[in-house]
C-alpha cells in the first residue's frame, strides 16, 4: 500500500494550520500589547516603552517574565477551583474564535457551516471567564466588576449577533469562509449595486461598537474601571493567571477585528477587487495560485491591523461611559438600529431577488 501524501496532507492540514495560527497568535499578542502602548503614547505625544530591546519592542516579554516570576496568590476567601479555572476559560474562549476565521482562501483551521454561531457562542463563553473570576475571588470589587460585565455582555451580545446577521443574510451562509468568498461575487462588487452598502455600513458601525463592549475596551471598560473598582474582575489575580486574562483580552480583540474584517470589510479580498486594473497588477498574475494566497494574506493583515489601530485610536480618544448610559445606549440605541438594519437588509435581498426573477 502506498502512502497517499495528498490525502495525508488534506487530513493533517487543519492540525498544521492550528499549530501555525496558535503560534502566530501567541507571538503576535505581546507585540499587540507593545504596539498599543506605543501608539497610545504617540497619541499623547509621548514615546512609550523605550528601553527593553530596540524601540522597547521586547517590553511585553519583559513584563511576561516579571509576571511569571511573581508569587502565585490565591485569596483565602476564593472558591479555589473556579478561581483557577476562570482565566483558562477566558483565554480558551478567546482563542477558539480564531478557529473559524479564514485568513486566506486556503489558510484556516476549520470551515464549519455554523461558524458564526460557534463564534457567538464562544464569545459568550468568554463572559463566563470574567463572571466566574469576579465571583470566585471572594472580594467586593471583583464582584461588582463581574456583575457589570455580566449585564454589559448580555446587552451588547444582542446587537453584536443581530448586526452580523446582515452579511450572513447577504451571503446566505453561516460559514465565515462562505461570507469571505461571497464578497467576490457579491452584487456589490460584481454589479456595482451600491444599495447593499447601506445596511453593511450601519451593521459595521453597530458591530464595532458592540465589539468594543464585548471585549471590555475603553468606552465600555466598566468591568475594570480603575477609578471605581481597583482593577475590576481581575483585582485578586496575580502572576500568570493575570497574564492569561491579559492575553485573552488581546486575543479577543484580535478575533473581533478579524471577524469584522471578514464580515464587513471584504475579508481577505483586495479592496480594488471590483476594478479592472486589479487583475493586471495582482500577485496572482505573477506567481499563480501562491501569489493569490500571498495577496490575500497581505490584505487580510492590512485590514486587520488597520482595525486594531482604530481600536487603539478610540481608546486614546473616548472617555468611559457611565453605567446607565451604557445600558441605555445598548438597549435604546444599538439594538433597535441593528434590528431595523436587519429588516432593511432583508428587504434589499428580497427586492433584488424578485427583481432578478422578473428579468
Amino acid at each position: 500500500m502506498t502512502l497517499d501524501l495528498t490525502s495525508l496532507y488534506q487530513t493533517g492540514r487543519p492540525y498544521i494550520n492550528m499549530l501555525v495560527i496558535l503560534a502566530a497568535i501567541m507571538g503576535v499578542a505581546p507585540m499587540l500589547v507593545w504596539i498599543e502602548r506605543k501608539y497610545l503614547a504617540y497619541y499623547q505625544q509621548r514615546v512609550g516603552p523605550l528601553y527593553v530591546g530596540k524601540f522597547g519592542i521586547l517590553q511585553s516579554f519583559a513584563d511576561g517574565i516579571k509576571l511569571l516570576t511573581k508569587e502565585e496568590l490565591i485569596p483565602k476567601n476564593a472558591d479555589r477551583l473556579t478561581y483557577l479555572v476562570a482565566p483558562a476559560i477566558s483565554m480558551t474562549a478567546a482563542f477558539i474564535g480564531f478557529a473559524v476565521i479564514p485568513i486566506t482562501e486556503a489558510f484556516y483551521i476549520t470551515d464549519v457551516n455554523v461558524a458564526v454561531l460557534l463564534w457567538l457562542a464562544m464569545s459568550s463563553l468568554g463572559a463566563y471567564g470574567v463572571i466566574l473570576a469576579g465571583w470566585s475571588s471572594g472580594s467586593k470589587y471583583p464582584f461588582l466588576g463581574c456583575l457589570r460585565s455580566c449585564s454589559q455582555m448580555i446587552s451588547y451580545e444582542l446587537s453584536l449577533g443581530t448586526s452580523i446577521l446582515v452579511p450572513v443574510l447577504f451571503a446566505g451562509t453561516l460559514s465565515f469562509k462562505g461570507i469571505a468568498l461571497w464578497w467576490k461575487e457579491s452584487p456589490l462588487v460584481a454589479q456595482g449595486n451600491w444599495i447593499y452598502l447601506i445596511p453593511l455600513v450601519i451593521g459595521f458601525f453597530v458591530f464595532l461598537v458592540s465589539g468594543f463592549a464585548e471585549t471590555n475596551r475603553i468606552p465600555f471598560d466598566l468591568p475594570e474601571a480603575e477609578n471605581e473598582l481597583v482593577a475590576g474582575y481581575h483585582t485578586e489575580y496575580a502572576s500568570m493567571k493575570f497574564a492569561m486574562f491579559f492575553l485573552g483580552e488581546y486575543v479577543a480583540i484580535s478575533a473581533i477585528a478579524a471577524i469584522a474584517v471578514t464580515a464587513f470589510l471584504g475579508a481577505f479580498n483586495s479592496p480594488f477587487i471590483g476594478f479592472a486594473f486589479a487583475k493586471q497588477f495582482s500577485l496572482e498574475a505573477v506567481w499563480g495560485i501562491w501569489g493569490r494566497y500571498l495577496g490575500q494574506l497581505f490584505w487580510f493583515l492590512v485590514k486587520w491591523f488597520a482595525l486594531f489601530w482604530f481600536f487603539i485610536w478610540i481608546r486614546a480618544t473616548l472617555p468611559r461611559f457611565r453605567f446607565d448610559q451604557l445600558q441605555r445606549f445598548g438597549w435604546y440605541g444599538l439594538l433597535p438600529v441593528s434590528l431595523v438594519n436587519l429588516i432593511i437588509a432583508a428587504l434589499i435581498v428580497y427586492s433584488q431577488a424578485s427583481a432578478g426573477m422578473a428579468k
Binding site: 497619541y43 505625544q45 509621548r46 485610536w313 473616548l318 446607565d324 441605555r328 435604546y332
Partner: protein, 199 residues
C-alpha cells in the same frame, strides 16, 4: 416638605427634583435626575460627529513631534527660578570675601513649614570671624526627607546665605554612607556650604 424645599432652594423649576420620594440628600445639593435623552437620528449623527472630532484631535497629536525629554541622557530644560537642592553661599567679592553669608539668625528655620532646618548659632571669634555678623551658624542641618522645596527659607534669609540650585534627582537606594553623616538625607553644613552643583 415645603420647608425643606425652601431651604434647599434649588429644587424648584421643572419639579423633577422635589417629587417627595426621597429626602433631600443635603442642603443646597441639586439632585440630578436621569431622564432618558431623546434618541433620534439627529442626536445620533451629532454624537457621531463629536466622536469624529475627538478622533481628529487625537489624530493630530499622533503626528505631532513627541515632547518627551530623554532625561538623564538629555539635560532637563529647567527654568532659572527652578527650586532644587539648597546651597549655603559665601561672599565672593567685597570686604567680606571668603566669609560665610549665614549669620545664624534662624529666620529660615522659623519660617520653614516642614521643620527642616536646625540652626545652632555661636559667637564669632573677633580675631577670625567666620561671618560678617556677630554670630555664625555652628550647626546647620537640613532634613531633606521633609523638605517640600517651597523656597520660603530662601525668601526669609536676610543675607541671601541660603539659595536653591537646580539639582533635583536626590533619591537614592540607601540612606547610609554619606560623606559627612550616617544618614544621607540629613545634610549638614559641610554638605551644604560651597556644595558643587551640576545643573
Amino acid at each position: 416638605m415645603d420647608e425643606i424645599k425652601e431651604q434647599t432652594g434649588r429644587e424648584q423649576g421643572n419639579g423633577a427634583g422635589g417629587n417627595g420620594h426621597h429626602p433631600p440628600s443635603g442642603i443646597g445639593v441639586k439632585r440630578v435626575t436621569h431622564e432618558p435623552k431623546k434618541l433620534g437620528v439627529g442626536w445620533t449623527l451629532r454624537g457621531l460627529m463629536e466622536v469624529m472630532r475627538g478622533l481628529f484631535t487625537t489624530g493630530k497629536h499622533f503626528v505631532r513631534p513627541r515632547v518627551t525629554i530623554y532625561w538623564p541622557y538629555q539635560p532637563a530644560p529647567l527654568k532659572d527660578r527652578f527650586r532644587g537642592l539648597h546651597r549655603l553661599e559665601r561672599y565672593e567679592e567685597g570686604p567680606y570675601r571668603g566669609m560665610e553669608k549665614c549669620i545664624g539668625c534662624s529666620l529660615c528655620a522659623a519660617i520653614c513649614p516642614a521643620d527642616v532646618i536646625t540652626v545652632v548659632a555661636s559667637d564669632n571669634d573677633p580675631e577670625n570671624p567666620k561671618s560678617p555678623g556677630e554670630r555664625y551658624a555652628k550647626v546647620y542641618d537640613m532634613d531633606m526627607l521633609r523638605c517640600i522645596f517651597c523656597g520660603l527659607c530662601v525668601e526669609a534669609c536676610p543675607t541671601e546665605a541660603i539659595v536653591m540650585k537646580h539639582d533635583f534627582a536626590l533619591a537614592d537606594y540607601t540612606r547610609h554612607f554619606s560623606q559627612h553623616s550616617v544618614d544621607k538625607f540629613i545634610y549638614h553644613k559641610e554638605d551644604l556650604i560651597d556644595r558643587e552643583y551640576y545643573w
